[in-house]
Symmetry: D2
Subunit: 326 residues, 4 copies
């Protein structure tokens, strides 16, 4: 696919990825991991769900963990600029033939629930309950000292189609890989907030959630997390890293929560607010695109993802896997 012009005047104004809702099988085990190891702060907790946020977030939560029989991804949440954007969003999704629904979310004034063409459940809101700043409560910093949600990454059976849909919604492409033969996108990184991405799509059986990422301050807190996990009973939950991505230039680590949900800790990508920022193309044969230093990702990283509730993944248009690991 050729790169389309960004849609500078999108149908409604999305600010950023705001939160993700995951289904987990054991809230207590999840809390031990997310609060005790990763270091997220608990905003609210009951028998059904746990609400968490990073140290600099003033919204009520950026992660909801809801008790479910199986691990599952429940929705991706986005904050829009103004209340009117919600109505415009509802209209736009309806015009695409996609289901729209106004749902009640106790911390949000109004919340629109819909889905993308692959069935990924999306929620939009303009106003979520605000909490006092905690970024200077240094005595409460724990684990990897997560500051804020950064992005999510979704396995997608047709990345060209996902790109076209999200581009129309106003997401802008920053980096990408492309299949040389077919010219189809293999993976795309797209943003709204001025970083490398709010969402990325990778070719693969999908839709499935590949990971969500928290922004941290620098590589040393990621090393701290590795030391902590390795000596606190979470050795097997370390999946990949640490390393620097070629794509995005970010320093990263991927870990798995007790249900196998993949969490990335991520720092030092770059600013992308210029609308004329040229997307960077990476060759699928360049091992540095994934890890600048050449280390291959483990097989699990290419294959494992979590389905969205009620959505059956399908095989991708592009077959094969550009796996460089042995």
């Amino acid at each position: 696919m050729t790169i389309a012009p960004p849609n500078f005047y999108p149908p409604f104004n999305i600010l950023r990825l705001s939160h993700v809702e995951l289904g987990v099988t054991d809230l207590q085990a999840s809390r031990a991991f997310y609060e005790g190891i990763l270091g997220l702060r608990v905003s609210a907790a009951d028998d059904e769900a746990l609400y968490l946020r990073g140290m600099e977030e003033r919204v009520h939560h950026s992660l909801i963990l809801r008790k479910t029989p199986q691990p599952v991804a429940l929705s991706l949440g986005f904050k829009v600029f103004a209340d009117a954007d919600l109505d415009r969003a509802a209209e736009w999704f309806a015009s695409k033939g996609l289901p729209v629904e106004w749902v009640t979310r106790s911390q949000c004034q109004r919340c629109l629930r819909t889905q993308d063409p692959f069935g990924v459940p999306l929620e939009f809101y303009a106003t979520m309950q605000r909490l006092p700043p905690t970024h200077q409560e240094f005595a409460a910093y724990r684990g990897v000292r997560p500051l804020r949600i950064d992005h999510c990454n979704v396995f997608c059976p047709d990345v060209d189609a996902a790109y076209a849909f999200y581009n129309e919604m106003g997401f802008r492409l920053t980096e990408y890989t492309q299949d040389d033969e077919s010219g189809r996108f293999w993976a795309v990184w797209m943003h709204r907030k001025g970083g490398v991405h709010d969402i990325a799509f990778t070719n693969g059986r999908g839709p499935r959630l590949h990971h969500l990422a928290y922004w941290v301050s620098n590589p040393l807190v990621i090393i701290d997390l590795l030391d902590l996990m390795a000596t606190s009973g979470y050795l097997a939950n370390i999946e990949r890293g640490p390393g620097r991505h070629g794509i995005s230039n970010a320093f990263f680590l991927y870990v798995l929560d007790p249900d196998g949900h993949r969490i990335e800790t991520y720092c030092s990508d770059y600013q992308t607010v210029d609308p004329d920022l040229e997307p960077i193309r990476w060759d699928l044969k360049d091992p540095r695109r994934q890890t600048l230093w050449g280390a291959p990702a483990p097989r699990s990283w290419f294959e494992q993802g979590v389905p969205f509730e009620g959505v059956t993944p399908v095989d991708p248009v592009l077959a094969g896997q550009p796996i460089v690991a042995p």
Copy 2:
């Protein structure tokens, strides 16, 4: 002054502070400092001027050093979203009775030159010559490894008036200090790009440029810069820091270039894209607002600034200095 509602639908769309132009007396000495010590990259150089950029910037320059008889600040440059924003800007400034002029800037397609009510020269453009990415040319990283311009800070004789003007232009307030007695703002931090500020105004004889700041990756590169300057003949150019600001939460260092222009190296403030982000008020009596760890700033930091060319600074409305240093 009470905080006004942000102007969410401003007369034209400014993206970010893009570049600053300074007058320097010795281009060779300046190049030794900015390229050899700070580590900025030279985009172009001739007998009149030096153009520099940070390692992740793809615009032609974020700093212009122009040979002048005296050290002076020449202009603040802002990138707008689209070409049409330039015309809207011209109209808006003209409607305020401020001079507007279309000027030729070799790297910009169109450039509007105007000024704010205090006489600060402002330049706006939509399209500047782009250069290839260099953020992964690690062999070229030097000094403090400056990544991108972040903000500038201006001494202003009437911060209330500056706040009102820039708020109308769409800048949003993130943090501030206020004089208890009069209720007037002492200093305001305002942004467009989603960080704590693109521009700050501090009460004082003005307008004068207080400093401009480059974003760096983490505190250790700032410590490297200190070690380097202290042992390379620039000991006397270290002015203040390192420290963490209470306001903005950023880790900082202030140094002086060979002409006395103040440069801040700055990292790890926070994301501010939410339009409902509540501004944080700091008490002028809290020493932590300047340095979270309590260390006072030296007298020079409160008093020295560089006038803008052709603009005579005037005394501030609010007298006195909240100097906490001995």
Copy 3:
């Protein structure tokens, strides 16, 4: 004084500074600081005393806090190579006309208590109770993550005499300052363990303990400590730093405990095991000797120290203070 040849075959074999005993007025307040803020581990505690160690120390303690009516320094403890060294030490101190005494220390097999010519109480032992390694119990790391005791620093009224005495004991000089006029030492840094110092002496009313220092892994944990103290009620306990010493090249921070005992957190000096390592001389007029970056120390840092129990400080031989601060 001219530098004497090191005593390569000293009367007995001291390995390193092992521990310091301080008198504190409120054990609970001290524990809150040393355990809760600095992050030392408590080995034992009762109504009389608190025993602490760093994360990589396997001796029972490197710091004893004993309840006393006034803040006071109680003793400096050194580990010797072998049991026989204790007897040789006893003989040597006795030969100098200094009091020697075998004292009972519950964690040490044998303990010799004596004093240096200025009255500084010294304790020597060969074998102290060992504890299991904890350096990889990362879940227990707190505060500045102190790893091990590094050195202590003592105000001394006659640095030449201290140098001669400790040199004869086998301490080796690594760096020093000298009074230009008289040729007398102003300060000396002397080691046994292979770092820049186990003990330093500074000209001043003494003997008084100036500070003791813990080794930490890197500058960022020191920045963490600053952030923590500034926002946890210990702002006024931050005395000086962070900075890099010219002398020793170490990155440092000085903080005060609730009784005013000065603690340094310290990292990245250099290895000194070569017996032919040339001592480095620093000019008293070079501000970089104290802080490489030029920042002066506050007056308190030059003046405040804690007397040793029962020892009356006297004025120094060299008058005046090389204070570079305003």
Copy 4:
């Protein structure tokens, strides 16, 4: 093998591993790597050899690269405490039936060349030419900013025998792995200087040099080296890491020079000057012994080593490889 008591009164006093001499096939390519990428300083260079040192070393060199037809290890160099130790060393090695020879080394006063029972060429000296300190010439810091040589690691066909021999020479055991069935050592880490090791022996076809290591200040400079190598034509020379060793607790990276010599950059192990420090035993089945975070080493790391000149490696007593990588 059971752990023997350390030899606290060894036949002669070795201070530390001082330098390593390697045979390289292309001095220019080696210089580009060691000076241009790693950042060692060149002390001397001619058509035959290149002499290098780290930033804090004041001896003439810690690495000699000599032009040879094939990559080969030429000798391990140790500094002894005093000149008389050289004569004692000559006597001791002769008493073991090992060849001793006084050789001329232009930078050393006297130099004894001998070998260990496996044929590893060893050189001992007391006095090497000294150079001025450069640890505060921060403008000269490059690459990984190597500070000093730390240790070397040798494949050995009989680790029990190596342990017994070096233990008698005064090296002290800090950590080890052991074959459960035979009770034989698999690998031992032994020191003289007060760190985790000056030399380690690993079961394998040998003797062959596995790697030599430079001490660096903190993990971030190792990350800098990775970024630099990956983008400067040395991607394929990155072999393993970054990671934290379980054994030694050090943060590490292994890279290969242009001839395949393995260099480790290493920081943050712990102090071992206490003679009663208990050696730490690691289970060969614990993946954390190699990388605390569980990542396996690549096959090359277990298999590749460089022979010592003129010494034919033999198969190890213990067969099999505890390779945990797939």
